[in-house]
């Protein structure tokens, strides 16, 4: 058995790691002054959003690419799973679908607020997308939204739209500014908000798709 080896080793590792962290010297490279000094020309007022979509926009671009890739892989894997005959989830429960109907529009409003707040406060495309996806999952769980089996044309555009928009803006900036995703300071705010809007929609759809494509055998063809 591995247990007598793994558990003492793990405990020893935890103790060493915690002792090392308690004893850790201050970092030699402090990025906070750099972030704060360039915040004025980044187009947004919140440092985390500035890091995500301006200083390290490349990471965010690759991240949405990874998400899209994961979704494509899920579609490829789950396509040939033998599904049980689709029984339509008509629940006799009245309260649950009604609560879903009430909560979903509020969640959409919250998502839009989070998106717009991201420029100056905690929030942004990821949080907004997560709320959108949660609304879709809620609707699915209350039986109002059937699971997705195969993405249609419009859904495909929606899923890939954020990534395509991001790549498009990056390509245009590459031609105009000479660098991938180096925003001109005057238009940085508008460009970031444009990218974030596209990201919110696509992230919401992708994250919802991660759930709804996997649970498609309970619902209808979507």
């Amino acid at each position: 058995m591995k247990r007598p080896v793994v558990i003492p080793a793990a405990l020893l590792f935890a103790v060493v790691l915690i002792l090392a962290m308690v004893d850790l010297a201050p970092p030699a490279l402090d990025l906070r002054p750099l972030v704060a000094a360039n915040l004025a020309s980044s187009g947004v007022a919140h440092p985390v959003t500035a890091v995500l979509l301006n200083y390290r926009a490349y990471d965010t671009l690759l991240e949405i690419g990874v998400l899209l890739l994961a979704l494509v892989a899920i579609l490829a894997v789950s396509e040939s799973v033998p599904t049980t005959s689709s029984t339509s989830a008509t629940s006799s429960d009245l309260l649950l679908p009604m609560l879903g109907r009430i909560a979903a529009p509020v969640m959409v409003v919250v998502a839009v607020y989070l998106l717009s707040a991201g420029t100056s406060a905690p929030g942004g495309a990821f949080q907004a997308g997560a709320v959108l996806a949660a609304a879709a999952v809620l609707l699915h769980l209350t039986g109002l939204l059937p699971g997705w089996r195969q993405p249609g044309v419009s859904l495909r555009w929606g899923l890939a739209g954020g990534f395509l928009l991001f790549v498009g803006v990056g390509a245009i900036l590459l031609l105009v500014e000479g660098d991938l995703l180096r925003y001109p300071p005057d238009h940085a705010g508008v460009l970031i908000f444009l990218i974030e809007s596209g990201l919110t929609l696509s992230l919401g759809l992708i994250l919802a798709g991660l759930f709804l494509f996997l649970s498609h055998d309970k619902g209808d063809v979507g």
Binding site: I18, M21, A70, I74, L210
Partner: protein
């Protein structure tokens, strides 16, 4: 001990628990959960260590935000693979037998 350092220590414990779970548990669903615990521990260490002197650092926070979303996608992919395995073999454990 500042609160940031406390977060980092809890993160280290979560990471170690997750690693032990990944190594010891054979049930794949629980192994995915352990893997997520491991990731959450790593995120907590990143964010906690960066603000151990009291001031938050936006760069690790943005990195962790990216990491969380990618972790969700990886988890969903792992779940899809487990589902496929279950559909093909009817088992929720890795097919090869452990020797030790």
């Amino acid at each position: 001990m500042t609160s940031g350092l406390l977060f980092a220590c809890v993160g280290a414990l979560l990471f170690v628990m997750g690693v032990s779970g990944v190594l010891l548990i054979r049930h794949l669903l629980r192994r995915i959960l352990a893997f997520n615990l491991m990731g959450s521990g790593a995120f907590l260490v990143l964010v906690g260590l960066a603000q151990r002197h009291g001031v938050a650092d936006p760069v690790p926070q943005a990195m962790v935000l990216t990491g969380i979303v990618v972790a969700v996608a990886a988890t969903a992919l792992a779940l899809a693979l487990v589902r496929r395995l279950h559909a093909l073999t009817g088992k929720l454990e890795p097919p090869e037998a452990d020797d030790d």
